[in-house]
């Protein structure tokens, strides 16, 4: 039609004015980012069916043109073909911007090589979609254990918190779709509220070298990103169905994406899983079921130059906590530890009773970005998070169905990032963020608040430079400043206020005296400076090294500041301290990477000195009408952590391979001259794998997981008097469980269903020999064994 009109128009013109076809169109084709000339771009003049190419300076010219509309198609390797309409009324000069798809190219590399990184000089590992899909029924913490040096601290097997090089909770920053998760991460039994099924990739950056994400990530940063959406007209999705024997739980997750070539996209994802009581080799773990519902929507528009994104996610988890772990006093704890089996273990059930937790986390995010010619990319983002946590204890009378803890944490963040990448050899990033957070502890629980009501204000700015010195050497520098202010209103028992000697140091913050309780208004401010520097050097095709340094500060979290009360699941009184200062980490990381056709080896070593490290330690006992309880206080010390993470892969041929992941870590309390508590013990995973493309893409792997007994631990055991037996016994809360060795198996095949769809069937067995074991970093190890054998069948359909 267009052509027809044009021809008609040309004819009309020629009738009126006569033919004048001596005009010239010329110009320059250059790169959008840095304005550099694009050599060898092909220009196809659609209307005339003629071709030309740009010269070495990116110039082109087309002669003998008539008046009228020209349609050009400009194409170049790694650029999107661009269509341009130009009206010729005489000799015309027209410059063309091409969009060199550097980022998109990188994305393609992810799939081909699996080494797409967010930082250049950090110790960083990426987990890809395929790996994550295997963990569809599990948690973020479970999946991350695939990375050498990442372990977890558990409360049972459904509350799993990632530990990076020995550090966890507030020392780890989790980002989901570029939103920093604010979900009361301070507590050990508060697992990250993430539905793993909503993530396409996860990058783990060890240490505080990714300053764009936060300055207080002393342990590291976990970045979850949704799957890439390719810009073409299509509708695609996948569904994962799973069933496992242990916990007798089905799980389902489904994703559907509609994308348009013009840049619009819409993705919906939902997942559901349900588990009953899990089982050790010998008994059921009563009340360990869980029920999880997740939903996310992601929509927006993206082109190379600009785009926006609107994202919403909802996650609801109801998690049962081992019935036997709820105890009354120190005597119950002694009985529980000394009992071979948990004191309560019943038959299998899907019921979830108290003690349990129910958490709903919602994230709403919107962002907008624009690229500026010869300059860079500017992004602005606003996000809102609502975290609602209920914890139910075993209570009596009218309070039986009432939550013992009811916290609502609301967080608003506004941030802007600017990336100046016109010169690919020197990329600069700047960012600014401001946040407001409100915590509300509902008094209707009838239980004194564990965490008080507070308002928190955050402000941060950073600058990062990524310099490419030459083909083989990259150098990074970063600097960040953060300001945090907490304005809390907290009730203290007058007796506690005096016992803490706050009446001497904080008398001026008391705003109300209720007799037995005081209402106080602590306003605490913190200024944090972080810095990072790193260099990578590639010696040759096989050998490269990374060396980096990070300085970071972390302000104390509400739990470390305000805790004051009895923690039933641990049978201990936990006390925070308003005087706690921020902790400062100096971390050095050195990595050596080797890669040839058969062997890839990655050695990551680190040394982390933390000044004023905040930790919790038993300091005595207090007696209440319930009996005696150990008192655990938050204290500060100087700590040193160091270790080595190894991952190696050796391919014998196209079918057989060997894989090793080993992590060794030591943690020292320098002031007390003893080991640090809760350090992961030595762990090595060795696997032998086989794959054969001819047998329906068959893959199988046999894994051996060996975890040695932790021999370095602080001895916090103490003698307690047990009135009912009239004797003093040793309360052994320190001794780590013995060494254990587990075998696992996983396999899968892929069947092509049609041109565009396939079915993947996976069979996994964990703990093949049904070995009884307990893990040092599982808080329920005092009460029960860890999980026994589990068969898992997973069907995955891509369409």
């Amino acid at each position: 039609m267009k052509h027809y009109i044009m021809i008609l128009a040309c004819c009309l013109f020629s009738i009126v004015y006569g033919q004048n076809c001596n005009y010239k169109l010329s110009g320059n084709v250059h790169d959008f980012h840095d304005g550099s000339a694009i050599t060898g771009a092909v220009i196809y003049i659609k209307t005339l069916d003629r071709y030309t190419t740009t010269d070495i300076d990116g110039n082109y010219s087309i002669d003998n043109l008539c008046k009228g509309l020209l349609i050009l198609e400009v194409s170049h390797l790694a650029c999107d073909t661009k269509q341009i309409e130009i009206q010729i009324n005489g000799d015309t000069q027209y410059d063309i911007n091409m969009e060199h798809h550097i980022e998109e190219l990188n994305q393609i590399k992810i799939d081909a090589q699996g080494n797409h990184k967010l930082t250049k000089t950090s110790q960083e590992t990426q987990l890809k979609t395929k790996t994550l899909e295997r963990f569809s029924a599990f948690s973020l913490g479970d999946a991350l254990k695939q990375i050498s040096g990442v372990s977890s601290i558990n409360t049972g097997n459904t509350i799993v918190k990632p530990v990076i090089n020995g550090l966890h909770s507030s020392r780890i920053v989790v980002l989901t779709n570029n939103v920093r998760l604010q979900d009361q991460e301070w507590g050990i039994e508060h697992a990250p509220n993430i539905d793993l099924n909503s993530a396409g990739y996860i990058n783990v950056i060890k240490g505080a070298n990714a300053l764009a994400y936060g300055g207080d990530a002393i342990g590291g940063v976990i970045v979850l990103k949704p799957k890439n959406i390719s810009l073409k007209d299509s509708l695609y999705g996948n569904t994962i169905l799973g069933m496992q024997s242990n916990g007798r739980g089905p799980n389902i997750s489904s994703t559907l994406t509609k994308s348009w070539k013009k840049g619009w996209y819409l993705t919906g994802q939902a997942s559901y899983k349900i588990f009953g009581d899990f089982k050790t080799p010998d008994y059921y773990l009563t009340n360990t079921g869980m029920n999880s519902k997740g939903l996310s929507l992601n929509t927006g528009f993206k082109t190379f130059e600009k785009g926006f994104n609107v994202f919403y996610s909802y996650l609801n988890n109801e998690i049962g906590i081992l019935r036997s772990s709820h105890i009354g006093n120190i005597e119950d704890l002694v009985n529980a530890i000394n009992s071979e089996e948990p004191l309560v273990h019943n038959d299998f059930s899907y019921d979830i009773n108290a003690p349990k937790q129910e958490i709903t986390h919602q994230v709403f995010k919107t962002d907008f970005y624009k690229r500026f010619k010869k300059f860079g990319r500017l992004e602005i983002q606003y996000d809102f998070q609502n975290n609602q946590r209920f914890e139910y204890d075993i209570r009596v009378g009218d309070d039986k169905e009432k939550a013992a803890l009811d916290l609502t944490l609301k967080t608003h963040t506004l941030k802007s990032d600017l990336k100046i990448d016109s010169n690919t050899n020197a990329i600069y990033k700047f960012g600014i963020n401001a946040g407001f957070q409100n915590n509300f502890a509902n008094p209707d629980t009838g239980v004194r608040r564990l965490i008080p009501d507070y308002d928190k204000y955050d402000f941060g700015i950073y600058a990062i430079s990524e310099l490419k010195l030459n083909e083989n050497t990259n150098l990074d520098f970063g600097f960040r400043y953060d300001f945090n202010k907490i304005n809390a209103k907290k009730f203290y028992l007058t007796s506690r206020w005096e016992e803490r000697r706050y009446d001497e140091d904080f008398a001026d913050i008391v705003i109300d005296d209720l007799g037995t309780q005081l209402l106080v208004n602590p306003v605490l401010t913190y200024h944090n400076i972080s810095a990072s520097a790193g260099i990578t050097h590639q010696f040759n095709a096989n050998n490269s090294v990374i060396f980096n340094y990070g300085l970071s500060n972390r302000a104390p979290n509400p739990s470390e500041l305000f805790s004051d009360g009895l923690h039933h699941s641990a049978a201990r009184i936990e006390l925070g301290d308003l005087r706690i200062k921020q902790e400062t980490s100096n971390r050095i990381g050195v990595s050596y990477l080797f890669k040839n056709e058969k062997l890839s080896l990655n050695l990551e070593s680190y040394l982390n000195h933390i000044h004023d490290y905040i930790y919790i330690k038993p300091t005595g006992t207090e007696t209440t009408i319930r009996g005696a309880f150990p008192v655990w206080e938050y204290l500060q010390t100087n700590a040193l952590l160091y270790g080595l993470d190894v991952s190696a892969n050796y391919k014998f041929n196209n079918q057989w391979y060997l894989n090793n992941k080993t992590a060794f870590i030591k943690g020292r309390n320098l002031t007390e001259k003893e080991a640090l508590i809760d350090m992961p013990s030595f762990k090595t995973i060795n696997a032998i794998g086989y794959s054969n493309k001819k047998w329906l893409n068959f893959k199988a792997e046999l894994q051996s997981e060996l975890v040695l007994k932790q021999n370095d631990y602080p001895d916090n055991n103490f003698e307690v008097y047990i009135p009912t037996t009239e004797e003093s016994v040793l309360l052994d809360i320190s001794s780590p469980p013995p060494t254990y060795h587990l075998m696992h198996f996983e396999s899968d095949i892929t069947v092509k269903l049609s041109e565009k769809s396939d079915l993947n069937i996976g069979l996994n067995i964990t703990n093949i020999f049904n070995t009884s074991y307990r893990e040092y970093l599982n808080r329920l190890r005092y009460f029960a064994d860890d999980l026994g054998r589990n068969f898992m069948l997973q069907l995955k359909i891509n369409y």
Binding site: T366, K489, T516, T624, I625
Partner: protein
């Protein structure tokens, strides 16, 4: 221009959100509802004599202060006492009796009495629907043994009353969680 527009929309929405959630009200205090501050055992001798009361009182609950324990006097030898227990939450005023809650859920509660040096024997006088003991009412009997020792009164929540010896007052196999544990120094004269 369009960019600016989008930016301003973002900013405004952020401000609106922030503005909504700020208020200056002080939070309300929480009075612990099911805290037990006080346990009083009253022992009335059958056929007359001095009534003995044993009390443990911990007004700051889980706070740092130890419970105050008082014993009104020595038990008489060769005497039978009718014993009752009273549990109070004195953080509320007037003080709230917890006895009722225990009576309502008597199958989930049991008191245990342990005394050293065989100074006395305890028998249960109240039972739940299944005929298992509760212990809010009990009988203490002393014989001609005299001397000093300790009496431990323990309240267990959700004990297994059917376990071996539990219904006879033996705590060894009771399990459950301790709600109260009070140790009194007593003597029999």
């Amino acid at each position: 221009m369009k960019t600016l527009k989008n930016l301003s929309i973002l900013f405004i929405s952020a401000l609106v959100f922030t503005a909504c959630s700020s208020d200056d009200d002080n939070p309300e205090p929480v009075n612990e509802e099911e805290v037990i501050t006080t346990l009083t055992a009253t022992l009335v001798p059958v056929g007359g004599g001095t009534t003995i009361t044993l009390q443990t009182q911990d007004l700051d609950g889980d706070g740092p202060n130890d419970p105050e324990i008082t014993v009104s006097g020595a038990l008489a030898a060769n005497t039978t006492y009718n014993g009752t227990l009273e549990l109070l939450n004195e953080t509320e005023s007037p003080a709230e009796s917890i006895n009722e809650e225990i009576e309502e859920e008597d199958e989930d509660h049991q008191f245990f009495f342990q005394i050293t040096n065989s100074l006395a024997t305890f028998t249960y006088d109240d039972f739940d629907e299944d005929g298992n003991p509760v212990g809010l009412e009990f009988t203490v009997t002393t014989d001609d043994t005299t001397g000093a020792g300790t009496l431990t009164i323990t309240l267990r929540h959700e004990p297994s009353k059917s376990a071996n010896g539990v219904s006879d007052g033996d705590i060894t196999n009771a399990g459950g969680e301790t709600d109260i544990q009070a140790v009194f120094s007593i003597s029999v004269k």
